[in-house]
Symmetry: C2
Subunit: 239 residues, 2 copies
Amino acid sequence: MTYCVAMRLASGMVFLADSRTNAGVDHIATFRKLHRFCQPGERMLALMGSGNLATTQSVLSLLRTRLGNDAPNLFNQDSMFHIAELIGATVREVINRDGGNEQSAVDFGCKFIIGGQIKGQDMELLLVYPEGNFIQATTDTPYFQIGEIKYGKPIIDRVITYNTSLEHAMKCALLSMDSTIRSNISVGMPLDLLAYRRDSFTEGEYHDIGESHVGYQHLREAWAHGLRQTLNNLGELEF
Amino acid sequence: MTYCVAMRLASGMVFLADSRTNAGVDHIATFRKLHRFCQPGERMLALMGSGNLATTQSVLSLLRTRLGNDAPNLFNQDSMFHIAELIGATVREVINRDGGNEQSAVDFGCKFIIGGQIKGQDMELLLVYPEGNFIQATTDTPYFQIGEIKYGKPIIDRVITYNTSLEHAMKCALLSMDSTIRSNISVGMPLDLLAYRRDSFTEGEYHDIGESHVGYQHLREAWAHGLRQTLNNLGELEF
């Protein structure tokens, strides 16, 4: 499984992905799921995928290979909308290629979150479905999740609004991931964290967070401590 | 959908159930899912069901009807193990009766949590599967959930151990329910909360918690406030 979350906020965007893939419980491996495509000063794109690993890797390879071509690619599309269309078309291309054998019970599906900003335009965050269609984050619904999304959703629902600061949102994303990792063994370390500041058109602030990452450990411990304190201080239940 | 959680702790047991059932998004109704079977001074049983409503209601009706018979019933079985066997057999009986038509795509399955205590024996908590087999809670894994379990699992995983107090566990169960209700519209109020103290052999402390329940509102507000405070006080992320 996988857990990826991305937020589009007033001050910028946050992307967080785990790196565990598994087929059953005994084919476990580490694959990075957060990929950046940046033309400094021009455009920054971050792409995260969940679902069938063969499909997501093929889609990524095709997107990367075509960057140098004249054909439609991530660097020559003129809007985030057209970039999402391109990713959707590439997903369909791979699934049509691999999924033709109807006797197979394999699910070739995958989902992608694509976020970024093109010079002169607003930041956008989109979720591309296995069918290749997509939806767009808004100020009302400023975040998307893919993969094993349920364990980490409550904290985001309680905390994140469009006006949440980037620093706050990074912590919230990491705590959402921590809750997921604690409750589901198919989501695991290391993590890829990316914060992009609005109108910066850089690769953004990227962090590779492994098991021994001191800042992440401190955050988890402080959160666990704070939760216990909060629970202890709730007072008597009034019936 | 449904969310039910039960805990077997050193000092007693906690049972909590929502009351929403739905088929799709437009057949929404309120049905109670927590049922008590008590012989004061002799035995206390609490049963919660999730899954196909026709199946769970039939199982309950059969269990209730047979209480007055000489046939095996919830009051004449001599252990919690045999009570779980009886519930499992009744689940199989109903599913075999209704599920015979193989052309139907309906899922007739259901799950039950049964907990309680019989005079002279320890409290037990068991989870009965649609196939009629079952597992038993232990001091290492002192809780079971059925229905829409994921949203409310992280807080329980963080807080509940076998030695958690009953009062604390009731709050934790309610907060787990609150997280679930916020993130999933198929789980809804009112709630049935039951706390049973070890060796009391009474019906236990029962609370019907509706939308306007002041104690529940205060708990939710205090928790939301505490979470925000904790997040605000986490300090800078160290990278």
